[in-house]
Symmetry: C2
Subunit: 229 residues, 2 copies
């Protein structure tokens, strides 16, 4: 744990708080004498700390962007994949306490690593007391938030419809249109099928519970069809 403190540049007031961030539910069941709780309450706290730090960081670093776009960038910044990558850079797996029988398959493991990262953020926040928020913020600046600039530069956050329109206008140039193809089911459970068109050519079809969702789905498929993704 002391090595880990050095790695992240934070000295904990109570080292037990840091240790607790690494206790997976599966480990607790087999080691009840060592720890009184697993890391899920801390993850609950860390998730909200992460959310505010990320929001503040994006709000201040991208003053020209509107709230809709900021929301999309934030989603890309704090999703499982992004947190899992940050967890891997810090080699959190090395410190993680979990039952040996626990999910080793990739999807489950990535999820556990992302959750551990959130629990760690919660532990830093909690242990730092009055300075906890700033300590957690600095930690995230050091180990996660650089990725925000990459997300923006590489358009990793764009919603498919805007992105499809932007490229179509640049490449063809033409503006895509969406037309309703069919609408099925009772009012509370409708299913829409929508086509994405450039001129008269139908590029793709998408489906969804609302026209908007079906259009987004169609735009995604059109990007793939055109090799623009």
């Amino acid at each position: 744990m002391e090595e880990f403190e050095k790695k992240i540049g934070i000295k904990f007031n109570n080292i037990k708080t840091l240790e607790n961030a690494f206790v997976h539910r599966s480990y607790l069941n087999e080691n009840k004498e060592k720890f009184s709780q697993h890391n899920e309450r801390m993850e609950f706290l860390g998730d909200a700390v992460l959310e505010l730090c990320a929001t503040d960081f994006l709000y201040k670093n991208f003053p020209q962007k509107k709230e809709g776009e900021l929301t999309a960038i934030r989603s890309a910044l704090v999703n499982t994949e992004s947190l899992c990558n940050a967890a891997k850079k810090l080699n959190l797996e090395e410190n993680l306490l979990m039952s040996k029988g626990e999910s080793l398959e990739k999807k489950g493991r990535n999820h556990i690593l992302a959750n551990t990262f959130e629990a760690l953020v919660g532990a830093i926040y909690l242990d730092g007391e009055k300075d906890g928020f700033f300590k957690a913020y600095t930690f995230l600046e050091n180990f996660l938030f650089d990725y925000a600039f990459e997300i923006v530069e590489k358009n990793l956050f764009r919603d498919p419809k805007s992105y499809f329109q932007e490229i179509a206008q640049e490449v063809i140039p033409a503006t895509p249109e969406y037309k309703l193809i069919s609408e099925k089911g009772p009012d509370h459970d409708k299913n829409f099928i929508v086509g994405a068109y450039i001129g008269d050519e139908k590029i793709s079809e998408g489906e969804g519970k609302s026209k908007q969702k079906a259009e987004v789905d169609a735009a995604k498929k059109a990007l793939i069809k055109k090799g623009w993704e």
Copy 2:
């Protein structure tokens, strides 16, 4: 604005930040010379501040509750209805700048009031700089968080299935069971109908996109049927 500062007990460094929290999108369109932006970026920030303050408050005030229950309490604490009530107590409507033509119907108006409350939290956080987080936290303790105790005391957060089971075990006593009645539609768009039973008696039917959702729906309806809601 100075009267409002007194009401909430916060002196702003820059009064324009406070004013900006009250600028609805519809007002900006008609008064571009007075304000350069509406309050939606600030609401984006305030929403995340509120989320962390509420999470921290619940984490510390309900140490026995697990993360699942804390999540349910938090949802009840920060939903539109709850924020709208807080906004009404502060009489935010009096300060709100919006186009006269804008939605006066109840649902839309409540939504706008709740958003203004979030924008106000964002303004307090932003204007307070290093102390912003603590100022916003104190503000929320004064004007919103008391409601958390009412939510817990009156069980306003319980998930319907647990609540139905608890009451049935107490009143009858018996444990409700759920049985699948039908399952329709293709794999990506299934619809389940489930019955909630006490012994052999079917109390209600619920439907949903998953068995779990259909069961929750059935439990809700059973609570109503039994007059236990």
